[in-house]
């Protein structure tokens, strides 16, 4: 097996996150909820965000199903944005989607992503980019949409 290349995608930290995902639980009373599906592979994420009065992410949780990449990306995303302001979180989502498309970013932006920055490798696996971005897109849509729930079919990426 081209083990090095496989290892470069499935780094220990990624496999750890997918084996033991963080914040993988629902927040029934969250202020922001969204369900997003990737029609290509059937991956689904339900993302619940608790925004405090001063627009900080005071709690976050996700449920759903998907591949190693999408599950670990969701886990790393929740770690990274916990406690951040809405604007910061949106900025991070932008950084992430730019990063996986191969665009350059200041190191500070990448550091902010914490473990999630490790997914920059996904660039070399174009077919898997959508897996990595699903959680971040869900974050973005949840924070930007007007009504607090969204029809899941419409939320397809």
């Amino acid at each position: 097996m081209g083990l090095e290349k496989l290892n470069s995608l499935y780094r220990e930290v990624i496999l750890d996150h997918s084996d033991h995902p963080h914040h993988k639980h629902a927040l029934p009373d969250a202020t922001h909820k969204i369900t997003l599906k990737n029609p290509t592979c059937g991956d689904v994420i339900n993302l619940d965000i608790q925004l405090s009065d001063d627009d900080k992410i005071s709690d976050i949780g996700f449920t759903g199903e998907g591949c190693t990449i999408s599950q670990s990306s969701a886990s790393m995303m929740t770690d990274a944005v916990m406690g951040k302001s809405k604007d910061q979180a949106l900025h991070m989502a932008k950084t992430f989607s730019d990063m996986v498309m191969g665009k350059q970013h200041p190191q500070a932006d990448l550091d902010e992503l914490q473990d999630a920055a490790i997914l920059s490798n996904i660039m070399t696996f174009p077919a898997r980019i959508k897996c990595a971005t699903l959680a971040w897109w869900a974050l973005q849509r949840a924070l930007l949409k007007d009504d607090s729930t969204e029809d899941e079919e419409k939320g397809a990426i």
Partner: protein, 415 residues
């Protein structure tokens, strides 16, 4: 193993390459096949000697191009044993052909309250056209489901197909489960009740002898690219009396009789359904693919794939933690095999296999209702063709073993 077939890989230079530092094993033939040199050379030859627009042309190149194009039609006619060349219509592909039938025959013949019967294992291309037609016409869409062994439930079919049924549309072979459906029986059932039968031949024509007269199908659609022909060309076979009664599908050059400012008349078959400049080179290339398959013989193609499945399927089923969907008996299986590894998402499996040089597909395979019915979101799928070998089957098995070990922390820990 049929030794002649083992030598044909020299006709497929694309197979002789390294992918991720491993020799390529291409097992995504249900998505699209590879083209032998003979097909590529036919395209090149056409473009470099005879290329012109067909019909109407008086000059020598136009005459040659027309002769090439019509010769390709007659090759396909003989290949599927269609009674007449006029019943063989060139399309863009299987999807185009099925949409043509739904938009013309369906549009003209389906009324509110009528029923359309399809199966739960249909590819989206033989599902959504009927679903949307039913929605538009307030007709009822009914699904034939599966037996426990992944075969079509023919008892249910016999119950569902009634005098209310106007169209029955079923795949000849499943692109997910490798099941071959009893199309001849289904067509007979449909005819007993005055319905027409539409066969989706995308996964059958490339892999077995298909005789549209013996099957007595009313319409039958398939794609060139899955049978080693070029992309962008396909075939719709239809019975003459049905095609003649249908309105045209698209309007434009070549499909007309007379065009006046406010009305038009249509050309004879098959041109009525071939509006505008067709994929002329594509047709010529498809003709070359038919020649190539005929040279080998469809019986040998099928026997070759059967041999691989006989070898592979039991070994695959014996893998720890694997689920193979569809019929478990090799004899009932085409060269299409869908499976999942326990606790592993098929996308991860496909990526890992790709690292081993083994190309398989992962996803819903354009059969979301089937996935939903099976309680799945996705599967991996390996699909074989005549240039694949038992060695390719072994490579798949080894790569699956390595994949399992990698994700089960085997390789991860030795890192």
């Amino acid at each position: 193993m049929d030794s002649t077939l083992n030598k044909i890989d020299q006709d497929f230079p694309i197979l002789d390459q390294e992918v991720n530092d491993e020799h390529l094993v291409y097992l995504d033939n249900a998505a699209t096949a590879q083209r032998p040199n003979q097909v590529v050379n036919a395209l090149t030859h056409f473009y470099q000697t005879d290329n012109a627009n067909v019909h109407r042309g008086v000059h020598t190149l136009a005459e040659r191009a027309t002769a090439d194009y019509e010769a390709a039609r007659r090759k396909v006619q003989a290949f599927i044993n269609a009674p007449e060349p006029e019943e063989v219509i060139f399309t863009k592909g299987c999807t185009d052909g099925l949409n043509l039938v739904a938009s013309t025959y369906g549009e003209a013949n389906i009324k509110a309250g009528d029923e359309i019967v399809i199966s739960i294992m249909e590819h989206h291309s033989n599902l959504i056209p009927w679903q949307q037609l039913a929605l538009k016409k307030h007709a009822t869409l009914k699904y034939i489901h599966l037996t426990d062994d992944g075969e079509l439930d023919m008892e249910e079919a016999a119950r569902l197909i009634t005098d209310k049924t106007k169209i029955v549309a079923v795949a000849h072979a499943s692109n997910v489960m490798g099941t071959v459906n009893p199309v001849k029986q289904l067509a007979a059932l449909a005819h007993q009740h005055g319905a027409v039968f539409v066969g989706d031949g995308a996964q059958s024509v490339p892999h077995m002898k298909v005789d549209v007269q013996d099957l007595d199908v009313d319409f039958y659609a398939f794609s060139g690219h899955k049978m080693m022909g070029p992309t962008g060309i396909g075939i719709l076979y239809g019975k003459r009396e049905l095609l003649e009664a249908m309105p045209p599908y698209q309007y434009g050059g070549e499909m007309i009789g007379f065009v006046h400012q406010f009305e038009s008349t249509w050309a004879e078959l098959p041109y009525k359904f071939e509006a505008g400049t067709q994929n002329i080179a594509g047709a010529v290339g498809l003709g070359a693919a038919v020649d190539y398959l005929n040279n080998i013989g469809m019986d040998r193609v099928q026997a070759h794939e059967k041999e691989i499945v006989n070898y592979l399927l039991p070994k695959l089923e014996a893998l720890d933690g694997i689920t193979v969907y569809g019929p478990q008996e090799p004899a009932k299986h085409t060269g299409v095999i869908a499976f999942n590894l326990e606790n592993l998402h098929p996308h991860d499996v496909a990526t890992a296999l790709d690292m081993e040089g083994v190309a398989v597909r992962a996803g819903h395979h354009c059969a979301q209702p089937l996935m939903e019915y099976l309680g799945l979101t996705a599967t991996a799928r390996a699909s074989f063709y005549l240039y694949n070998t038992l060695a390719d089957a072994d490579r798949l098995l080894e790569a699956l073993q390595a994949t399992k070990e990698f994700f089960n922390h085997g390789s991860r820990e030795t890192k």
